[in-house]
């Protein structure tokens, strides 16, 4: 079992196989399942991700009314204008938003790695799909590559906002996505690791400060920017740009930053955006109105 990114890259390079293949073989061994069983189970996750993107692009709204409809707005803007940041990038952003809007509206999602950060991996996948035209199997492999990097973060740092802040949730998700984009685009295993490192470096320190404690504000937009970050970092890695700090050390830094982050900024709705005047006003409105109704 690989314990860190350098062992993961070593396993891939020494056998001349992809990261996704390392992950598939390990899962078969750990779970004592056949390749078909492991692939089928991941394809079910892919099916759910595809449906949540589709549902979000039709337009949804959450119970609190805080989020919903932005994915539709972005897609409409893309059709009617020439977006400054480019259609592919905005497509990924809108699909990440779509997934998290569905999550906030109590729709079905696949946690990647958590519910609050579930938009980044599918958002980037279903955008890049239109450019790279992958087979269904390659799309399933995208999820194994993302999962391999996510597993390293989960075992060496954290994927929980309560434990490590948003850097551990959307930060991890964005790093996982960047690494998976690189593999799908034909990059090497070590380029995947560079993409993960570059992404995560730019997510370090991100706090978890949800308004009213709900997985909505700012979570939906954090997923949007997580997707954008992943796309750009993947391009940098494919261009040959390297991270001066190795991926494993970035992950370790993320862990230590999470440790020293105050509790008020780790999913307690006590600090950050949750504690702004508007954040508090929204919180009172959401719970206050509901209470009066009873």
């Amino acid at each position: 079992m690989f314990r860190n990114v350098s062992e993961l890259i070593e396993l891939a390079e020494s056998q001349n196989i992809s990261i996704s293949e390392v992950m598939i073989r390990q899962e078969m061994e750990v779970a004592e399942k056949t390749r078909e069983e492991v692939m089928e189970r991941m394809e079910r996750n892919l099916d759910v991700m595809e449906k949540s993107v589709e549902d979000g692009l039709k337009g949804v709204r959450s119970r609190s009314g805080l989020t919903g409809g932005d994915a539709v707005l972005i897609q409409k803007y893309m059709k009617e204008n020439r977006p400054l940041s480019g259609n592919l990038l905005l497509d990924a952003v809108s699909k990440a938003v779509a997934t998290n809007e569905v999550n906030a509206a109590m729709g079905t999602i696949c946690a990647t790695p958590t519910a609050g950060s579930a938009g980044v991996v599918p958002g980037t996948l279903f955008a890049v799909k239109n450019r790279l035209n992958p087979t269904r199997e390659q799309m399933v492999r995208y999820l194994f590559t993302a999962g391999a990097f996510g597993q390293v973060v989960a075992n060496n740092a954290s994927i929980s906002g309560a434990a490590g802040g948003c850097q551990a949730e959307v930060g991890s998700a964005a790093g996982m996505a960047a690494a998976a984009i690189v593999e799908m685009a034909g990059g090497t295993p070590s380029q995947s690791a560079e993409a993960m490192a570059i992404t995560l470096k730019n997510m370090l320190g991100l706090v978890c400060d949800p308004v009213a404690g709900l997985v909505e504000v700012p979570c939906v937009k954090r997923n949007a920017m997580g997707a954008a970050n992943a796309m750009v970092a993947a391009d940098l890695a494919l261009a040959g740009v390297k991270s001066r700090i190795p991926c494993d050390e970035v992950i370790d830094a993320m862990y230590r930053i999470g440790q020293s982050m105050p509790t008020a900024l780790k999913e307690t709705a006590q600090g950050g955006l949750a504690a702004t005047p508007t954040g508090r006003e929204l919180e009172a409105k959401i719970y206050g109105i509901d209470l009066k109704k009873e």
């Binding site: 779970a31 729709g107 991996v121 993302a146 989960a154 929980s160 709900l214 909505e216 719970y287």
Partner: protein, 238 residues
């Protein structure tokens, strides 16, 4: 020498703890209804375990919410999720979002009670539910990532995760009761993975919680129920 052994032991334990995520599906997954793995998926699992332990659809349910559950349940849909679970919906069943209406149509009376008491765990629910033939009361906690545990059942302390098949055996606190149950399981080649016994008072009613490796067929359950000192047997299949 003693010190070296100590260090090695400590190191092994640390490695074991750090590799807590072993499957890729812990990272990519689970499939669930949003918005929160702890406040929605975990809550639905508590409701569903209550339903499985009760064994049928109840006529009424009183749901007491504590800590973070009490403060944010409306925004997270914790209420909807628990009722969805009571209706036997899984964490990914889209009917969860309409569970309150469905319960109303089925004429199930549901009440939510926000509690101020401080509990050991921030996400705690106490559920009492029943019908004309009986009732059940339990405490469930949502421990994160969609995982949930039952910590109390009809006044007995226990720990039940719902991840393994299990049977709960109410029995008289008499010698031989536990042996007769484990003998029946052994004779039917059912392996016990985990077992706990809890009682409120010596010599009165007691509860055995037995987690097994495989689901237990109904004929074995009725065999258990016919055994001396066994009062009731409930099973949780996975």
């Amino acid at each position: 020498m003693a010190l070296m052994i100590y260090c090695r032991y400590n190191r092994a334990e640390k490695d074991g703890e750090r590799m807590k995520y072993r499957s890729v599906f812990d990272i990519i997954g689970p499939i669930m209804i949003g918005p929160s793995s702890s406040h929605t998926a975990g809550a639905a699992r508590i409701g569903r375990m209550t339903r499985k332990l009760f064994g049928r659809e109840p006529k009424w349910a009183d749901i007491h919410l504590y800590g973070s559950f009490a403060k944010t349940y409306k925004g997270h849909g914790t209420d909807v999720a628990i009722v969805g679970g009571i209706l036997d919906f899984d964490t990914f069943d889209e009917r969860i979002s309409e569970s309150l209406e469905i319960a109303k149509q089925k004429k199930i009376r549901v009440r939510f009670i926000e509690e101020d008491a401080i509990t050991d765990h921030p996400n705690t629910a106490r559920i009492r539910m029943g019908d004309e033939d009986g009732e059940i009361e339990l405490v469930g906690i949502s421990i994160g990532g969609g995982k949930a545990e039952i910590t109390e059942l009809n006044g007995f302390d226990l720990k039940l995760t719902g991840h393994h098949p299990a049977i709960l055996v109410m029995h008289n606190d008499r010698h031989g009761a536990i042996a007769s149950v484990s003998n029946i399981l052994a004779n039917n080649e059912i392996n016990i993975g985990h077992m706990e016994v809890s009682r409120k008072e010596q010599g009165k009613e007691a509860l055995m919680v037995i987690e097994t490796d495989q689901n237990i067929p109904d004929d074995i359950l009725s065999q258990l129920e016919r055994t001396e000192n066994i009062l009731q047997v409930v099973k949780i299949s996975v």
